[in-house]
Subunit: 191 residues, 2 copies
């Protein structure tokens, strides 16, 4: 019955379903059974709501990502674990993941993009640092960390987005993760 939390959850659902610009403050507060001043008391603005949602959902994930992923010796395992972190995250709150997928390709001059851009740059940096660890062992990958990071990230988020879109019925299992890991490491002919 925490109203602040209530507002965030309902706003997230609405943002994911109707879009940030497409959903008004009034709809958020009626859905949350509060009134406008309550929302403005806790968040200051509509932007503040989105900012808080990102802070609440994404910060935790990024910290976990930064802490958990590391390359020791087995690349296959390391990649699989990264994918697992993403799929777990997406299943915890598919609405939020879908929203990030939408907003990070958002219009670069919109207010929503300015809010989320920093978070997604942090995400990218974490993945790229991992890839630098990899390339320090696999020297043939030296200098390609950027592209590898991009490719891995796109493969993962593509899988997750599809599963969310097609209804989460067919859950992502170990098989999917193994398959995607192989796709990244060995290409299609090892499938």
């Amino acid at each position: 019955m925490d109203k602040r939390q209530m507002i965030m959850e309902n706003a997230l659902t609405l943002f994911a379903r109707e879009g940030y610009e497409g959903c008004g403050v009034m709809k958020i507060v009626t859905e949350s059974q509060v009134t406008k001043p309550t929302l403005y008391h806790y968040f200051g603005s509509k932007e503040g709501v989105l900012r808080s949602i990102y802070e609440f959902y994404f910060s935790e994930f990024l910290n976990k990502l930064a802490a958990d992923i590391k390359y020791q010796d087995n690349l296959m395992i390391a990649i699989s674990e990264i994918i697992s972190l993403y799929t777990d995250f997406a299943y915890q709150s598919p609405d939020f993941y879908w929203l990030t997928a939408h907003l990070r390709r958002g219009p670069r001059e919109s207010e929503s993009y300015l809010i989320v851009a920093d978070y997604h740059m942090r995400e990218r940096d974490i993945l790229e640092n991992f890839m630098k660890d990899v390339s320090s062992v696999h020297m043939n990958l030296k200098g390609m960390e950027g592209q590898l990071t991009r490719n891995l990230h796109n493969l993962i988020s593509g899988l997750v987005e599809e599963k969310i879109l097609t209804g989460l019925g067919n859950k992502i299992d170990d098989h999917d993760i193994t398959l995607l890991t192989k796709q990244f490491l060995y290409g299609i002919f090892s499938l």
Copy 2:
């Protein structure tokens, strides 16, 4: 000096820069140096503008995609040509490509998503048909056409989106295309 075309181009620029919901009809018409009734004469509604933009830019690309890509014997060449089609398309109108990347992950109940969803399903179908041709030769890929299509599409659009985002300065060249083709076919260890 074709006003209809003028409106579409300016609307595209604004949609890509400020978002579909984030940009009003009034801004479009003033930018295009026409008045509202002109826009409503040609397009009927704001939705109609977006619909026409998609029809104009995307239909042509999809037809080209469906006509040009085919698998004969050399998979490396076939994949490279698909990637080339996408990069060419994106360089022709980066604004539109960025808009598609944004809207196809859009809120599923928004009016913009309903407009664009069909186009992106057609795109997916075309790629999947190609992949079925491939799997009819490479039997070990049988039954995985969906995942392969998804992975290929995500790798390509990820490359294109990044290049658009980072400013189009470093153009996509044959080297990038070869590298991405290898990533898909053989994984990272052949890079």
